[in-house]
Symmetry: D2
């Protein structure tokens, strides 16, 4: 849903280029998302847990987790399918309320074919001591955008 | 994930109270989300499609769609399970790029038992002429928060 | 996953032909599945609830429900994508224990594009008086098989 | 959906007892399923790939994969929630056509709380030389059955 861009004949992305794609997403800038790993079937997106990303009880809103899952899955798919991809869909399960300093969404392609890539994502929070806690898991399907 | 609040012995919500819960979510305020229907197993959340909610190609970011699905599913679950609920998880499939004036996420409980409510959600965009287009569908599970 | 067949240049199916595809699935014959509706984005599969399809408490096994969801979603996808299709994946939520005379899985395409069809499925049981009870819901993605 | 049984005050299961639960499922016997690992948040179910479990192209039917996912997820949930559990729902994505000698569904609990366990499952086929190939992945939610 998120990583497609113009088909310019150079579908290969590296971390620097892919980070520019993320930065070209106004919604990702609104959330302060960073792409910290991209390549070889994997992508990692990090979001600092600011108060304006909370739900009503002071935890990170589930919608931020689902945003990060969606985007990490899509970028991971882009490492194997090329720059022109869209998210077919995904499933997310929440394990526990998410709190801490930073959300880290790590996505990994399990299989990439011509028609789709199947990708999994682990979403963890990191606290001030650097301790990680798994708070949600996702899996989804990324599709290549048809070329003209 | 989102509609739980303190268990105060009055778990019944109406639209006005539920809208206050939504408004107590900083992330929902950041996105400008509105609760426009709440009751009898149904909940509707609307988000105006501002430029800062876009992805890089000018469409609404998939993460906004997944946020709206998450929240609408949870509020719909709250109409049958009471105020103390959390999102177990959900699945979302994207049908087409989302553009227009407003995103409308309509969730409907299919079955509410003691242990969970199963809820579906249709996500449509409305253009300036009021025409609707279905752009994503979701289904998920809402759980009651354990009472002391 | 299930409705693909040789690409013979005649991808259009009607109920009679599609029923032959189902009958060419040994696993569907083992379960006694019947295709009772096929066309215009919809497909219905029925399975009589025999004792050898039960789980340990006398209800229909969840695996029969997931089989019926998988197959109904795929056949519905085949009505819009043609005969050569495969199941990308699906999500299923269980509402209540399934009992009765017959399981009916009704699938409906929500959107069919070139790259995928998004399909929903309602799974109900029918008792001896003909009363229906919704027992599970599913949604998934069907992909066209690449043509040579 | 599948591993619940009478609440007899001894919800703890070991492999031998859990295998009897599986064997008390007529549908699992029809498919020839075996429970080969059970404990510590994990469960493995194996199914030999017989011709009557095929779809029309000679591959294992997707419905057998979804059956195995459903059941492995549920038994894994039972290792942490006790004997009385039911499947809330799950999502499955197919990676490639499944062929070989045996299907192995390995499920692992990611988090088990009071209200649900979130579980993942890898589904692989093994060929005659013992080589494994990942053919589907699933994740789902298992719920405890309410006690009287």
């Amino acid at each position: 849903m998120t990583a497609s861009r113009d088909n310019d004949g150079t579908p290969e992305l590296d971390l620097a280029l892919a980070a520019k794609v993320l930065d070209a997403q106004p919604f990702s800038r609104l959330l302060g998302a960073r792409l910290t790993l991209f390549g070889d079937g994997a992508a990692t997106i990090e979001v600092d847990i600011r108060p304006d990303l909370h739900q009503q009880n002071g935890f990170l809103h589930g919608g931020v987790l689902s945003y990060a899952a969606d985007n990490a899955l899509t970028f991971a798919g882009g490492t194997v399918l090329g720059a022109g991809v869209l998210t077919g869909g995904f499933s997310i399960q929440y394990l526990r309320p998410a709190a801490g300093r930073t959300l880290i969404a790590r996505a990994q392609v399990l299989h990439g074919g011509r028609r789709q890539a199947v990708v999994r994502c682990d979403l963890s929070t990191v606290d001030d001591e650097g301790a990680e806690k798994l708070c949600a898991v996702a899996q989804g399907t990324i599709l290549p955008v048809a070329r003209g």
